[in-house]
């Protein structure tokens, strides 16, 4: 584990878990919210890598606005998904 911090490792594993969960959930609203969690973990990882501007953008855009867009769409189409 040369140079790769344990913190990074935890976040990466959590990110994979969040991605899988958000794709497996049948309820699209919950999936959107879990996708917001995924974006937020990604933002933490970038802040830790020293890419503060990217992390800031991701926090505002990925975890905030794109989750809102997804929820807005889910409310206007069917909420249940077949897979």
């Amino acid at each position: 584990m040369t140079g790769l911090a344990l913190f990074n490792l935890f976040i990466l594993v959590f990110m994979v878990v969040a991605a899988v969960i958000s794709l497996r959930l049948k309820d699209l609203l919950t999936a959107s919210v879990v996708f917001g969690i995924y974006s937020f973990l990604m933002c933490l990882l970038w802040a830790e890598m020293g890419a503060v501007d990217v992390a800031f953008t991701e926090a505002a855009v990925g975890a905030g606005v794109s989750a809102v867009f997804l929820v807005a769409t889910v409310f206007n189409v069917k909420r249940k998904s077949s897979d």
Partner: protein, 252 residues
């Protein structure tokens, strides 16, 4: 279908993992990206060229200003495309598929609206801070614009869309998005008229009472303001259209 997909994914995964061993190790100082003269120049000379402490802002708005300008245009076009896709016309306007499965309560909540009333000025002030302070701290036009747009989205979420459209109607948002790009291109054209090349901000020192480096510093702020205009307007326009299926009426 699923098996084919799995096979394709695993094949691509194997290829990528095979390639991964050729990448440089984590944080390697001699990796091609870090050792390239371009990256070194950006780090070493940003302070000399533009006097901006935040290299990301300097590279974004100055060295790669042309790129950023057309990224902004892409966002603008995306906003226009969404309005065009979702605009209700003719028989679509009263099609039964437009009814929602579950409708939300129309009455705005007292506690939520009052808290939002308190927070909106703070959020907008913070957006301006992020925009203006992007030279010395993380931030800039994109982030400030998104936060500003989010404040309008928050109004629409706490009350309903018409309340937010009193502040910023979608027509006006599209206009503002255009104004943002015009500000950006205008600064570029101004530097061209003053004898330089397109987006060569150093020429602005002929009209501003500052050195060429500080002219680049201030022109970057102007450019970021243009970006923030576009991003704010487009984010709100996208939300307004997505949440009401293009009808621009009613709540989420």
């Amino acid at each position: 279908m699923k098996k084919v997909a799995l096979a394709v994914t695993l094949f691509i995964g194997a290829l990528l993992l095979y390639a991964a061993k050729d990448f440089s190790a984590w944080g390697d100082l001699q990796s091609p990206a870090s050792a390239s003269p371009v990256s070194k120049h950006f780090i070493a000379d940003t302070g000399v060229d533009t006097e901006v402490p935040n290299m990301v802002t300097a590279v974004l708005a100055d060295y790669r200003g042309f790129d950023t300008m057309f990224e902004t245009v892409v966002i603008f076009i995306a906003g226009i495309a969404i309005i065009a896709i979702l605009r209700c016309t003719g028989a679509d306007a009263d099609s039964p598929a437009l009814e929602r499965e579950s409708d939300v309560a129309t009455e705005p909540d007292l506690i939520v609206t009052n808290t939002v009333r308190l927070l909106i000025p703070v959020i907008q002030l913070f957006a301006f801070y992020v925009l203006a302070h992007g030279h010395v701290s993380p931030g800039g036009g994109f982030q400030g614009g998104v936060i500003m747009g989010a404040s309008f989205i928050l109004v629409a979420l706490a009350w309903d869309l018409p309340k937010a459209m009193e502040r910023l109607s979608v027509d006006r948002a599209v206009m503002l998005a255009g104004v943002g790009i015009l500000i950006y291109a205008g600064i570029g054209l101004l530097s061209m008229l003053l004898g330089g090349e397109f987006l060569d901000y150093a020429e602005l020192s002929h009209v501003l009472p500052v050195s060429p480096e500080m002219a680049r510093y201030h022109a970057m702020l102007g450019v970021e303001i243009g970006v923030a205009f576009t991003v704010t307007a487009v984010m709100f326009a996208i939300y307004a259209n997505l949440s009401t299926r293009g009808r621009l009426a009613g709540g989420l």
